[in-house]
């Protein structure tokens, strides 16, 4: 399936949006405006956008501690996202969640998760619910290379496998789990090799090539919608920022990061392709960056001007029937 011009530009624009959002979040954190800790996905935009652009708004998604990109790519509201990062009442979770706990159930976003691999069993449950409700929705569960070694991943893939659930297991192999290089934690070079153990297709793609990711995602989504079951998709990418903002990063050389930043930036790569195909012009590109910058600037303003919750609101939202 080939993508039309609008779609290609929409994808590029979304990637720019993720990049700018993360960049500004980093600056706000450095400026002490964001409490707690945040995990940025700069350098991984092709994965979030390549996969999510293949989804419908009624499809489901579970994401991780590094989930801003997935949320944006699935259509989350920037104002409410920033407000949540700042702990404001206008945030997605009224300030109760923060960066690691943003969800938008109206968009099928079942939530980021502070527990590594915590989202996969939930995704399988959503997949089972789809099967029981007899809809043609699909579920994507994002997780990292580090998460891939946790037990729930195994249980989730096996259950999705035997029941042929419409679940796409998308591992973003970004080279590190916190301080730990993937090779020191994972007993296989390509995580997609594990898919065979669950009778599902496993695909490893260049996770910084948004079109390659999109193509793999389209196939996985088509399979799932057709009731042919789950797919394991491994997007090989790289985490440009520290694990969390403020990470001393003694576990890697700056040169390694620099090499990825210079030679393998997903936005630059996609822009080059679009320019070559005359989809993108210098002006258009600049226009997109400016437009996104304005949009995010607006979100930041909205968030800054929003009030903090009242202390007593901490006692709300626990139960439907207390």
């Amino acid at each position: 399936m080939t993508l039309d011009r609008e779609e290609l530009l929409r994808m590029y624009r979304t990637m720019v949006c993720v990049r700018q959002f993360e960049t500004l979040a980093g600056e706000y954190f450095a400026a002490g405006k964001i409490p707690g800790f945040i995990h940025l996905s700069i350098g991984q935009e092709a994965s979030s956008v390549g996969v999510c652009s293949a989804l419908r708004s009624d499809d489901f998604l579970t994401t991780t501690h590094r989930g801003h990109g997935h949320l944006i790519a699935k259509g989350a509201d920037l104002d409410r996202m920033v407000a949540e990062l700042l702990g404001k009442r206008t945030g997605y979770c009224k300030g109760k969640g923060g960066s690691m706990h943003i969800a938008d159930f109206a968009l099928g976003i079942l939530g980021a998760n502070g527990v590594v691999a915590g989202g996969l069993p939930l995704a399988v449950g959503a997949g089972l619910s789809i099967k029981l409700r007899k809809t043609d929705q699909v579920v994507v569960s994002f997780f990292g290379d580090g998460a891939s070694n946790r037990g729930p991943v195994h249980e989730a893939m096996n259950m999705a496998g035997i029941w042929r659930l419409p679940v796409i297991f998308c591992v973003e192999n970004n080279g590190y789990a916190s301080t730990t290089p993937v090779a020191r934690a994972c007993s296989v070079p390509d995580l997609a090799l594990r898919a065979a153990g669950y009778g599902m297709p496993g695909v490893t793609v260049d996770g910084n090539d948004v079109l390659a990711v999109r193509e793999a995602a389209d196939q996985a989504v088509a399979r799932a919608r057709a009731g042919q079951g789950p797919t394991f998709l491994e997007n090989k990418t790289y985490r440009i920022r520290g694990h969390f903002e403020g990470d001393p990063q003694k576990y890697r050389e700056e040169a390694e990061v620099q090499a990825w930043r210079d030679k393998n930036d997903p936005l630059q790569r996609f822009a080059a392709v679009l320019r070559k195909g005359n989809v993108l012009t210098q002006d258009l590109q600049q226009g997109i960056w400016d437009e996104v910058e304005a949009q995010i600037g607006q979100a930041l303003a909205f968030a800054e001007q929003s009030p903090y919750p009242e202390p007593k609101e901490a006692l709300e939202d626990l139960l439907v029937n207390p």
């Binding site: 939530g111 959503a126 139960l319 439907v320």
Partner: protein, 327 residues
């Protein structure tokens, strides 16, 4: 009209059949459910009458629990069968970090209807890993409701409210009580609201606060005590969270004495929470300390002589009753 009697298992199955008929978003997920209608036969009639709505899962408690959460968040009302309550240990993240916190963390965006059905308790010579009573862990976890029925009618009334509730409910049913019979209303709309205790035996001298298997110890103890002119009132809490403190208070305001009885080991058990609240909220009414009767602080041993010694006994309940009544 003669009261109809059912076993606790039959009461559960009847309630499920009624609710599954009423609401087609309810389904049951767990291990080994279909061919034997649950390993205790607790789902009699469900596989035949609701094909596809009672599902055998692989041995994957972690994912089974998470699956319940994911399905509950997306339009279904799952009842997850935990096989043996001891195996909640394989899904504490899904139950306590996910199910309990999701609505709160996300600012009340979503509701999570989910019933986690856990057959618990000892007495079957099943040893340390198949005999536990772990309700106290969940009482200490904000975001979960905790239900522990003792009699067949309570099982029916409480499982129905649990299935109709929009919050996650931990439902503990004692293995040794499945076969025990009792009167059960036939009315398909019979429900017992969560958070409502029941005074199951009136008495003026002291109050037994209990639930689950402890209730039956108290009943026997109360009868023996009556023969000694010590009249014990029995409050069956039925729901530990939300807790019906009002009924507890009324009873103690009359008796001025209380003994908490449960099967879980004493240290850190629910009796601690209850005693701690009572000695504050009813300080001026107490003529004696609130005593606790529960299992001794060891894992449940296998050998019958050992297990019987570790579990709370009628004799211990009576002794505690005598102590608080100074007789």
């Amino acid at each position: 009209m003669a009261e109809r009697r059912l076993s606790a298992s039959a009461a559960l199955a009847e309630a499920l059949r009624e609710e599954m008929t009423r609401d087609e978003t309810i389904f049951i997920l767990g291990e080994d459910l279909v061919s034997h209608s649950g390993i205790f036969g607790q789902f009699k009639g469900i596989p035949e009458n609701f094909p596809g709505r009672i599902i055998d899962a692989p041995i994957s408690e972690t994912c089974v629990a998470g699956c319940g959460v994911g399905a509950g968040l997306t339009g279904m009302r799952p009842l997850v069968d935990f096989h043996f309550s001891d195996f909640v240990t394989c899904a504490m993240d899904e139950l306590c970090n996910q199910a309990a916190k999701i609505r709160y963390m996300f600012g009340g965006q979503v509701k999570l209807p989910l019933v986690v059905w856990c057959p618990d308790g000892a007495g079957l010579r099943a040893a340390a890993q198949h005999s536990q009573s772990l309700e106290a862990w969940f009482v200490h976890t904000p975001g979960l409701k905790v239900v522990v029925p003792s009699e067949p009618a309570d099982v029916k009334g409480l499982i129905k409210s649990s299935l109709r509730d929009d919050d996650p409910v931990m439902f503990f049913q004692h293995k040794r009580l499945f076969a025990k019979e009792g009167p059960v209303p036939e009315d398909a709309d019979f429900i017992i609201p969560l958070g409502q205790a029941a005074i199951k035996r009136p008495g003026a001298d002291l109050t037994f606060l209990t639930y689950g298997s402890g209730y039956h110890l108290c009943l026997q103890a109360a009868e023996e005590l009556a023969a000694q002119d010590i009249l014990a009132e029995i409050v069956d809490l039925r729901t530990l969270k939300p807790l019906d403190m009002e009924t507890v208070a009324h009873s103690i305001q009359n008796t001025n004495r209380a003994v908490v009885v449960h099967e879980a080991c004493v240290t850190g058990g629910f009796g601690a929470e209850l005693a701690a609240r009572i000695q504050v909220e009813l300080f001026d009414y107490l003529d004696a300390p609130v005593l606790r009767v529960g299992a001794k602080d060891v894992p449940i041993p296998f050998s019958p002589v050992l297990e019987d010694y570790v579990l709370p006994s009628v004799a211990e309940v009576i002794e505690a009753a005598r102590a608080v009544t100074y007789r």
